[in-house]
């Protein structure tokens, strides 16, 4: 009985969103008594904006916790690794958003003198400094913005394209289906890394081009999954009912077919974000991706490559950041996949 109560308690949403509230406030809390100055905008408008976001999010989360004490965690979060994955992803997203508060230095400020170059990690520079004396920790924190943005935005692009192509092919059928799926096969037959490198090498590289190229070369898997899902769902009775009511096809597809076929897409998309971040980091490492003054983790690794022996920290820390992020997205994706697998849902929903 006591055990049961303990299990119940561990599933309550309250401790989790309480912790989330504290984490949300942390970027501001570490400023201590200086927090007021940040909120009042003495460190710039962007810093003030994120300070307020930090404060308000924390307050909202804590209030929500108190009001919704009785609510339990969603079923799929019963799995500890899914919880860890979600936490990692949320924390990293928060780091990216809160970069101005969390950075200890201006990420692009050059070192005061030649002597501030290549400083090893210390209390002043947590991850050391680079070839120009810039603070690596602050650069890694700001790099999170670009790397996460590219990861999420490029996968979003592929999902939209995949939904369009797969949905159209599965829903219309006939010649449209054949043509679209042959085109998908064609795109799949390209060696993807070559294609990405080619596109990046031919056009002038930028953050948006990376998103575009990763997005337009990654939709084929999604399209296939969507088409399969749509084919499975489109002849079910509820879709027929929607059609019989005279709804336009686009609405039937969007409101009735997609939601039913969406689960595997969400899983695949989450797992792809990790891959997209890896791809972006390799491109930027080669100098074909994100260009200065923008900062990305792969670019930082590339900058440390030539001085690896004398200044190991420059390449090491951004690599750890990438690994941590990709681990987070992979764990989250695995958790979502297990939740989407009906065979597993039966097992985990048999609660006491």
């Amino acid at each position: 009985m006591a055990q049961q109560a303990a299990r119940q308690a561990s599933r309550s949403v309250a401790p989790w969103c309480g912790a989330a509230g504290v984490v949300a406030a942390l970027p501001l809390m570490v400023k201590g008594s200086g927090a007021g100055a940040w909120l009042l905008g003495q460190h710039g408008a962007e810093a003030a904006l994120v300070s307020w976001i930090s404060l308000l999010t924390a307050v909202l989360l804590l209030v929500a916790c108190l009001l919704e004490r009785e609510r339990g965690l969603p079923v799929w979060l019963d799995d500890p690794s899914a919880r860890l994955g979600l936490s990692l992803v949320l924390v990293l997203a928060w780091v990216a958003l809160m970069a101005p508060l969390l950075a200890t230095h201006d990420p692009s400020a050059l070192g005061a003198s030649v002597r501030s170059r290549f400083l090893p990690p210390s209390l002043e520079h947590w991850m050391g400094t680079d070839i120009l004396g810039r603070d690596l920790y602050s650069r890694v924190v700001f790099g999170a913005r670009v790397s996460l943005f590219i990861g999420v935005a490029s996968v979003f692009t592929s999902v939209v394209l995949g939904l369009l192509v797969g949905g159209l092919a599965g829903f219309t059928g006939g010649v449209v289906d054949t043509v679209l799926m042959r085109f998908t096969d064609l795109m799949l037959a390209f060696p993807r890394l070559f294609l990405i490198l080619a596109l990046m090498a031919f056009f002038s590289p930028s953050t948006w081009l990376v998103v575009l190229v990763l997005g337009t070369t990654g939709w084929m898997g999604v399209a296939r999954v969507v088409r399969g899902g749509v084919l499975q769902v489109k002849n079910m009775e509820f879709v027929e009912a929607a059609r019989a009511l005279g709804l336009p096809p686009a609405r039937v597809l969007w409101r009735h077919v997609f939601p039913a076929a969406m689960a595997p897409v969400i899983v695949a998309a989450t797992l792809r974000v990790g891959n997209a971040i890896l791809a972006e980091s390799f491109l930027s490492f080669l100098g074909l991706g994100v260009q200065a003054p923008a900062v990305s983790w792969g670019q930082l690794i590339g900058q440390g490559r030539d001085t690896l022996l004398t200044a190991w920290w420059i390449s090491t820390f951004p690599g750890l950041a990438i690994t941590l992020t990709v681990v987070g997205f992979n764990l989250l994706g695995d958790g979502l996949r297990d939740a989407a697998d009906p065979r597993l849902i039966v097992r985990s929903s048999s609660r006491p």
């Binding site: 037959a189 060696p191 070559f194 080619a198 090498a201 890896l278 690599g319 681990v327």
Partner: protein, 321 residues
Amino acid sequence: MLRYLFRRILGSILLLWGVVTLTFVLLQVAPGDPVDLLVDPSFPPEDVQAVRDHFGLDRPFHQQYLSWIAGTVHGDLGISLRHKRPVRDVLAEAVPNTLRLSVISLLAWLVVGVMLGVWSAAHRGSLRDRVVTVSTLIVYSLPSFWLGLMLLLIFVWKLHWFPSGGMSDGTVAELGWWRWLLSSIRHLVLPVAVLGLSGAAGLARYMRSSMLEILSEDYIRTARAKGLGERSILFKHALRNAAIPLVTLLGLSLPFLLSGAVVTEVIFSWPGMGQVAVQGLLSRDYPVILATTLLSGGMVILGNLLADLAYGLVDPRIRVG
């Protein structure tokens, strides 16, 4: 079956044609001119024009396209703009180098991946399982170029155990057979580790979940009830069925043999296909780009075809008439 085979082969050829045609169009549309990268800008315009004429870069699109297709069908892939040699010769040197690296890595990741996956599934929930699960997840999530750099830093520059790049310290003639072999193996260790580890980690994760699924089947319970030994259940009953999707996986990793090593080759300056392709892209070496696309696209298509055919052989339920 024969008709199916014929249709699939025809479809594959059409697909390959589509891939190279699309690449050709892409190269034409892309901004920039390969000659600008090839010729010193201070050269007089007549000379630049001469280079252009020499490589036939001034001909209209359809002429370039048709002559390339005609050449390719006859096994002539053109002259590399960068190497000033037939592309066929450039590739003939690079492909065996890449194969040496990728075949060994593929074997390594197959053996390590399957063993780890089976082992951790057999000990499900134990500490061993958890260690394997966590470490494979981490290795799977590592950027492989960064892993390569870290290995270089630790094992080459700090510990001086291995050479930093290249394939060997000299040729067989220079070193003698035995020392050449030793040197080649020393050069192979780190690239194979990078390529093999990331593949093995992914495969181990896959094998673990597919083994777990099969180990919960009724016929495994039957085998246990019959009193069969755990080893025989694992390897004879479970692994054989869990390995069926491996056939597809192997087919799909066929292109990996030629183009999967790009990242590793760049980090360890391995003179293979990946390096040729990347340098070709960077210097707009059109014939090289087309040839590498043709080759690796061909591998993708062939891999898919073989995977589909082999799947029918291994699992009679999905044989196509």
